[in-house]
Symmetry: C2
Amino acid sequence: MLLLKNEKLRSMYRTHTCGELRSTNINQEITLAGWVQTIRKFGSITFIDLRDRYGITQLLIGEELNALLNENPLGREFVLQVKGIVSERSSKNANIPTGDIEIKVKSFSVLNKSITPPFTVQDDTDGGDDLRMKFRYLDLRRNEVKKNLELRYSVNRAARNYLHENNFMDIETPFLIKSTPEGARDFVVPSRMNAGQFYALPQSPQTFKQLLMVSGYDRYYQIVKCFRDEDLRADRQPEFTQIDCEMSFVEQEDILNMFEGMIKSIFKQVKGIDYAEKVGRMTWEDAMWNYGNDKPDIRFDMKIANLKSAFKKDGEIIATGELINGAGFGVFDNAETVVAIAVPNCSEYTRKQIDELTDWVKRPQVGMNGMVNIKCNVDGSFKSSVDKFYDEEKLKAIASFANAKAGDLILILAGTEERTRKAISDLRLELGQRLGFRKKDELKLLWVLDFPLFEYAEEDNRWVARHHPFTAPKPDHISVMIDNDPLIENAAEYLKHPYANIKANAYDMVLNGNEIGGGSIRIFQRELQEKMFTALGMSKEEALHKFGFLLGAFEYGAPPHGGIAFGFDRLCSILGGSESIRDFIAFPKNNSGRDVMLDAPSTIDEKQLKELSIQLNVQ
Amino acid sequence: MLLLKNEKLRSMYRTHTCGELRSTNINQEITLAGWVQTIRKFGSITFIDLRDRYGITQLLIGEELNALLNENPLGREFVLQVKGIVSERSSKNANIPTGDIEIKVKSFSVLNKSITPPFTVQDDTDGGDDLRMKFRYLDLRRNEVKKNLELRYSVNRAARNYLHENNFMDIETPFLIKSTPEGARDFVVPSRMNAGQFYALPQSPQTFKQLLMVSGYDRYYQIVKCFRDEDLRADRQPEFTQIDCEMSFVEQEDILNMFEGMIKSIFKQVKGIDYAEKVGRMTWEDAMWNYGNDKPDIRFDMKIANLKSAFKKDGEIIATGELINGAGFGVFDNAETVVAIAVPNCSEYTRKQIDELTDWVKRPQVGMNGMVNIKCNVDGSFKSSVDKFYDEEKLKAIASFANAKAGDLILILAGTEERTRKAISDLRLELGQRLGFRKKDELKLLWVLDFPLFEYAEEDNRWVARHHPFTAPKPDHISVMIDNDPLIENAAEYLKHPYANIKANAYDMVLNGNEIGGGSIRIFQRELQEKMFTALGMSKEEALHKFGFLLGAFEYGAPPHGGIAFGFDRLCSILGGSESIRDFIAFPKNNSGRDVMLDAPSTIDEKQLKELSIQLNVQ
C-alpha cells in the first residue's frame, strides 16, 4: 500500500517520516515529526516511540535533555518535532522496519499537546463503540482502522485503473435530482429558489448512466455516493458508495466477462491473489433450490434436498413429497415445504447438541416450530427423531436423496415455503460457520443469473420489479411481456400468470455468500419501457411525469446497453475480512442515521426554514 | 485521450469500433455498431457515415441491399449493426483516421430507430441553449461536448495520478452532515428518522479533512461534489466539484511546491504542455495595487498607476494625489481614488473610439461617471480631455508615473475606492481582450499570497473571515490576534484596528485571471481557533454547538497542517478554452438552479412531507 517515495514526503517540518530510517541512515542528521505513542523512562534517559502514518521510530532522549523534559513533561499523543542523529540500536526490534535504529535526540519541540484520550489509541482499544464513534478522529488513529481505509483506497485505485484500461470514462452525474420514489424512499432537499419544490438525492445514478449510453459515451463509470432513506438495519448506511458502470452494445456475456475481470484485478492489485479459475455461474432457481437463497456461499457444499416444495423450478412446481407423504407424520404431510441438509460427520451429535440446534431454529429470527433429524450412523444404520413414522428403508431413501454419507447428520425443517427455505439456508450457513467451512481467507466468487423479472406484491395484488424498472427481460421473454396483460385476475394463482415466468436479463456477483454487485441488460425501447411501467401499475401520466426524459431519450436512437453496480463498502469489508461496513467508512453513521461526532442531524434556524418555504410538522 | 486497446472494445455486438479500422484491415470481415451520422444516396448505392464514441466509418450499401433499404428506410441517429468487408476507398478522406477504408456491407440490422432530433447533432448546432439543455442527452452526442467531458476525465485522471504518486490518499467524507451556515447558505435535508432535524450537504469537506490530519492520515485528497445554496450568478452551479487536498507537517512553501507540481503535471498529461518556469508569486496587496483585483491576468502588463488612493498598502494609506490635486479639477480633487492605465500604442484613438470606451465604463455593470484620457502622441506631445486643468508639464509627469510611452493612450478613472479599482481592473481586462493580449492558448499561472485574514462587515460593524474561520494568521501575526480585542470601537476608523493588518497564511492559485484554487495553513490550536470564532462574533456556546468536534479534536495532538481546493469545473473550462463551466458538466443546472431535462426540483407527495415531519409554507 505505502509508496515509499521518501523524497516526496519531506517537508519544512521533517526530513524523513517515522517509517523510513534504516541502518543505512546511521550517522545522518535528521528531523522527524509525529505523535508520541509510548514513553519509557530508564533512570536519566527516556525512550519515546514516535508515530506517523508511515511507521514508528524510537527516540532516545539522553541525560543532557532530561532537565528540559522535566520542565515540559510529554504525554501520549503529543505532537513532537525532533532533530537528532540516526544511531544503531543496542537491542534491535525485528518486528518493525525501523527496528535496527533509534534517533539520538539533539533537540525537540512540542508542536501541540494532548489531553488524555478517552480510550487507548491501540489495536486492542478499551473504547466502546459509542465512545469510538464520538471521538472518531482518535479512533481513526488506530492501526486497525487505518489499514481498513488504506485497503479501501487501494480497492478504489485498482477499480479505477482497470476501468480506465478498458476505456471506461468517469463522468460525474448530478446529486440534486428529481424525486421518483420507486421502492426505497428518497432523501429530499427543499429548493429555496423554487419555493415548494424539492430536489432528491440519487438512490443511484441509474437513469443518468443510461442517458450517457444514449449519448454515445459507450463505457461509463463512477465511484459515487448514493442515498437511501430506509430504516437502518444493522450494517446499512443512509449514504453508501457504489462502483457504478454501464456499457453500450453489449449482451450479458460481455458484462460478466468485463466485471469478473475487474474483481480479479482488484484481488490481484489489492491482495496479491491470482483468482485464475473462471467464475462459476448459477441460475437464480438453482441457487434458491440448492442453497435456499439468491447469494449462496459456495465455499462449502451441504446443498439442500427438497423433499417437498411449492417452489417453482423450470416453470413447474416440483418436489411434491413422494418420499415423506402419507406416513402419518402430520407435520410433513401438512407442510408446504420440507427441506433437508446433510451435515457432514455429525451423526454422533449428542441429544444436548441437537436440542441446542433445535432451539436455534426456533428463535424468532429463524421462526421454525421444530426440527427433525436423521442420524446416518457410521455402521450404516439410521436413527431418527421420527422413527415411528419412517422405517429404516424410508430413512435410507431420504438419506440417499439428501446425499448423506454414513456419519452424516440429516436435519429437516418443515413449514411454509418462504420461511422454511430461509430457515434451512440460515441453518446451513450457521453450521458452515461452526464447522469451519467458511474460511475468511478463501475468496469464492459466483455469478447468479436469470432472476425473475417480477415479484408478486400481495398487498396490492400486482407486480413489482425485482431489480428495478429498467431491467430487460431475457430476449426470448420480451414477447411474453408485450403480448400479455399484466393484470392478475386470480390472486391465489398468481404463479400461473405468464409474468411469473419471465426471467430478467440480470446478474448478481456473489462473494462468499454476499451480494457484492448486481446489474442487468436494460430496456432500450420506448414501447417495452412503457409496458414495464404499466406492468408495475404506473399510469401513463405518472410514467411521463417521473421518467419522461428517459422515454424521450429512447426515441432518438438508444443503443442496446447494460451495466452493473458494486457495493463498494461491502466489497472492501469482505476483502478486509470484516463483518461490518462501518469499519471501512471514515465517518459512518450509527443505526439511527446519526453522526454522533458531529451531532447531526440537528435543528436549523427559523430563518433557514422560512427561506426554504417550509415549516416543521412534528407530531 | 482515447486508449485504442481495440481488443478490449470488442463485444457481442461488434468486432471493432467505428474509429479503428485502417487499410491494414482491408479484406477482413468485421461487425460494427453505431449511429447513422449522414446518409448519401448515389443512384442505387448508399453511403452512410456510422458514428460511435471512437470515430466515424463510412459504410457502402450496394445495389443488392437496396431493396432492403427501401423497405426499411434509415434516418439520422438510427442505431445500426452492420456486417461487412473492409475495403479500400476510391476517394480517400485524409481528415479522419478511418478515411482510407470503407465497409462493403453484407448485412445490416436496425437496433433502434430515431425520430428527427429537435436540433442538429453537430458541432455547429442550430439548437438554442434551452433546447439543448432539455435534450441534453442529444447535446452530449455533439463532438464539442464530448471533447469537453473527455478533457474533464483526463484532468481527473491526471490529478489522481499525481496525488497518488505523492502519497495522497482518497478518503471519502460524508455528504449528510451538520448545518453550520457561515457565509454561504447550506442545502439541508430533512431527517425522517429524527423528526424536526436536518442534515446539511457539505459546502466543502473542510472540517473533515482537518480531522483526518488530526487522525494522522498525513496526505488526503478527494475529487468531490460540494453544494452551496446561493443565488446563481451566470456560471455558478449549486453543485460543483472540487479537487480537495490537505497535508500535515507543512508550511506554505510545501503546499505551493506540491500543487504547482500538480497543475504542471495536469498541463503535461492533459495538454502536453511543459510549464517549466517557476510559478510567480505576488502579494495580495501588490495584486490589488497593480491590477485592481486579487486574481490578476498576467498574460499582459498594463499595470495600474495609483494617482490617489485610500487603499492601504504595507499597512499605510499611500498615493495621496500629489500629481493631480489642487489643479482645480474637482472630479479628481474630490475623488477617493484616481487610477490610470497606459494602453499601448493607442494614442491615435479617434473621438468615436474614446467615446465608446467612455460609454463602456459608464454602463451600470462598471458604474463610472466618466473617463479622462491623455494621449501620449508619438511626437512626444500630449493631448488630454483635461488640458484646461493640467499643463503639458503635469501631463508629462502623470504619463511618466503611469509608465506610458510615446504612442500610448492613458485612461484615468476617479471615484470611490472599491468601485473605481474594480472599474479600472475591468477596463484593463476589456482592453487586454480587445487588443489580443489575452491569448487562449497561453497559460499563465500565478500564486497570490498574504491575503488579509479579516474583512470588515459594515452592516454588523464586525470582522468576517476572508477565506474561512479555519485559516491561520501568518505566524508573526498570531500574537496580534491573540493580544487584541476584536471589538471595533470606531467604525469609521476600522482600518486602524490591529486586526485590519493581520495577514492570512493563505494562497490562491490564479490561471489567466481566474482563481482556480485556494487554500491556507490552518489553525491547529484550540485557543487560537476559539479566538477566531470570538473575532467573528460567535458566542462560546454557538462555537461549541457548531464546531465542538473540531475544538475537541484540537485537544488531542493536532499536527500543523494546511491544504488547498481547486475548482475542478473552472479548471477544466479554462484548459478547454471555454468561458462557461456548464460546457464541462454532463448534466448542469440552469441559472434558476433547475435541471430542465429532468424538470427538477419538483413537488413531492403529501405522504413524503408527512413522513419528514414538515409542511409547505409558501408565501
